[in-house]
């Protein structure tokens, strides 16, 4: 059962999108914690 190039591109694109969002989420969380004085 060979996957198509479409399957490959969708799989990688979804993974890449989540990876692009990840650092943005982390920086937003950092700013929120920092403002509350709750980094550690």
């Amino acid at each position: 059962m060979i996957v198509s190039s479409g399957f490959l591109s969708v799989m990688v694109t979804i993974a890449l999108t989540v990876t692009i969002i990840a650092p943005i989420v982390l920086v937003i969380l950092w700013i929120k914690d920092w403002k509350k004085g709750q980094l550690w």
């Binding site: 059962m1 060979i2 990688v12 989540v18 920086v27 550690w40």
Partner: protein
């Protein structure tokens, strides 16, 4: 050791980057560690880590240099399922999230995973668990030390031994200076560097080659890599899932964070880290499918990631790759050094040798242990023993045997010490047998199945009626008679 003639950075540039990042990490280690006065500060970052740093440290620690190296290796060997199987490592982080809440409520004064096993299952199961944990910790340290040497050599031509030595010295130094606070602080920066670097590499691969050409070339040369019914790959998928769960459930790297995170943060941080981590093996791994398109001759499977990067990227890109790899390596190596030193300090030194040790004594011994761990790892890493993937999978037999004793021990009163001991012992032995008799891709699977069966049967035959209050041991009352 593999000789790679395609190093895209010269050794001088490599040394300059290493020097710059060494200075940054060591300065930060000193900066964050300078106010560390109490043992809790050094071992557990004051038990007050927030959501942002908590998520980043869980994520960065799970993105090891092995992810950078072995995800492309598995994509090259096992194709689509190699990437997806590695990606299932995120399930370990996600399943550990609810356990963190339970751990914090049941063992509020705990320091290590060993504390839980000792209080829950008694001395002999605790000792067996420590043996398994130490085998895993040393194996992981070796795996990462080797990865550091291999990657630095592949990208810059710096000798394997020199690269590996420098990485170890840097991580030992800043962990020594700042303890877990330095580890968690640097993890945040390293996480951002890793994510940005992996994104750049993936985008460049897509724009340079494209999915159509990549798919067409793989289909003509290695069609089995695109086969969803590749039997070995499907076994690998389940094996890696269990391996990941076992690693996280048992390892003090994750337990020490459960104790270090602020009340209410742990579960959310692990859950988010799992979601963010899941796509990384796919994004880092799929580039290996471009080997055919690039006409690369890969001398060893674990070299495929750096070789593709070397082929695709120019000087600036090569610097980025080098920083990503260095960050992923450091973020895991420092965590493991800190967590393993905690385990040795709390469970071996304090538990077996000197139960009455003061905080000051314990802090001093913790630093000695970190240095010794670094030296032992360095000595074992000097010769390159096995391919990275095989070394990592070998440990699956050990860690998968601990999943059921830990999960059942946290939730089920009937779980008992005899069952836990036999589950870990026979699970590990059967996993090792499977590793050598069948293949690396079933070691964790067999170990977990055997361990699960023993735990379930023992709860049926000789059920315990454990009182959860016994886990609430005061931190200052680690009793010698219990430990010894």
């Amino acid at each position: 050791m593999n000789n790679v003639n395609s190093a895209i950075l010269d050794a001088n540039t490599g040394w300059i980057i290493l020097a710059i990042f060494s200075a940054i990490w060591i300065f930060l280690g000193w900066f964050w560690g300078r106010k560390t006065k109490q043992l809790d500060d050094f071992m557990l970052a004051g038990r007050n880590v927030g959501m942002a740093l908590g998520t980043a440290t869980a994520m960065a620690t799970w993105v090891t240099s092995n992810t950078t190296l072995v995800a492309p290796q598995f994509a090259l060997q096992l194709g689509i399922w190699g990437m997806l199987g590695y990606s299932l490592g995120c399930i370990g982080l996600i399943l550990f999230a609810p356990l963190v809440k339970r751990i914090r409520s049941l063992v509020p004064h705990g320091y290590t995973s060993g504390d839980f096993i000792r209080l829950r299952y008694g001395v002999w199961t605790w000792r067996l668990f420590l043996l398994i944990s130490m085998c895993y910790a040393v194996g992981w340290l070796i795996s990462m030390g080797m990865a550091g040497g291999v990657l630095i050599h592949a990208l810059t031509g710096i000798d394997y031994q020199y690269g590996m030595t420098v990485i170890l010295i840097i991580c030992v130094t800043y962990t020594l200076l700042g303890g877990l606070r330095a580890v968690i602080g640097t993890d945040f920066i390293q996480t951002i560097l890793i994510l940005v670097g992996v994104i750049i590499l993936a985008v460049l691969t897509i724009s340079e080659i494209g999915f159509e050409k990549m798919h067409k070339d793989v289909l003509s040369e290695q069609p089995e890599l695109l086969n969803l019914l590749m039997p070995a790959a499907i076994m690998f998928l389940f094996n890696n899932l269990l391996f990941g769960i076992g690693e996280i459930f048992h390892s003090n790297v994750w337990w020490s964070r459960a104790f270090a995170f602020r009340e209410g943060v742990g579960s959310k941080a692990y859950l988010l880290a799992g979601i963010i981590w899941a796509p990384i093996p796919i994004v880092a791994g799929f580039i290996a499918l471009s080997v055919s398109s690039l006409g690369l001759n890969v001398p060893a499977a674990d070299m495929v990631g750096p070789m593709v990067a070397a082929k695709l990227l120019g000087f600036t890109g090569a610097v980025i790759v080098f920083i990503v790899v260095f960050s992923s390596l450091a973020s895991s190596l420092d965590s493991l050094l800190a967590a393993t030193s905690d385990l040795i300090l709390q469970d071996i030194y304090r538990g077996h040798i000197n139960p009455q040790a003061s905080d000051e004594q314990l802090r001093r011994i913790a630093k000695i242990i970190i240095v010794l761990l670094g030296i032992i790892t360095w000595l074992i890493c000097l010769p390159r023993i096995a391919t990275l993937g095989s070394l990592l999978q070998y440990l699956g037999a050990f860690v998968a045997s601990t999943i059921w004793p830990i999960a059942a021990g946290l939730y089920l009163k009937k779980a008992n010490s005899t069952g836990a001991f036999l589950a870990m012992l026979l699970g590990t032995l059967s996993g090792i047998w499977a590793f050598f008799s069948i293949g690396f891709y079933v070691a964790a699977l067999v170990s977990a199945v055997v361990s699960m069966s023993i735990v379930l049967i023992s709860m049926w035959l000789i059920p315990d009626n454990f009182e959860w209050e016994r886990l609430n041991e005061n931190a200052n009352q680690l009793t010698g008679e219990k430990a010894l």
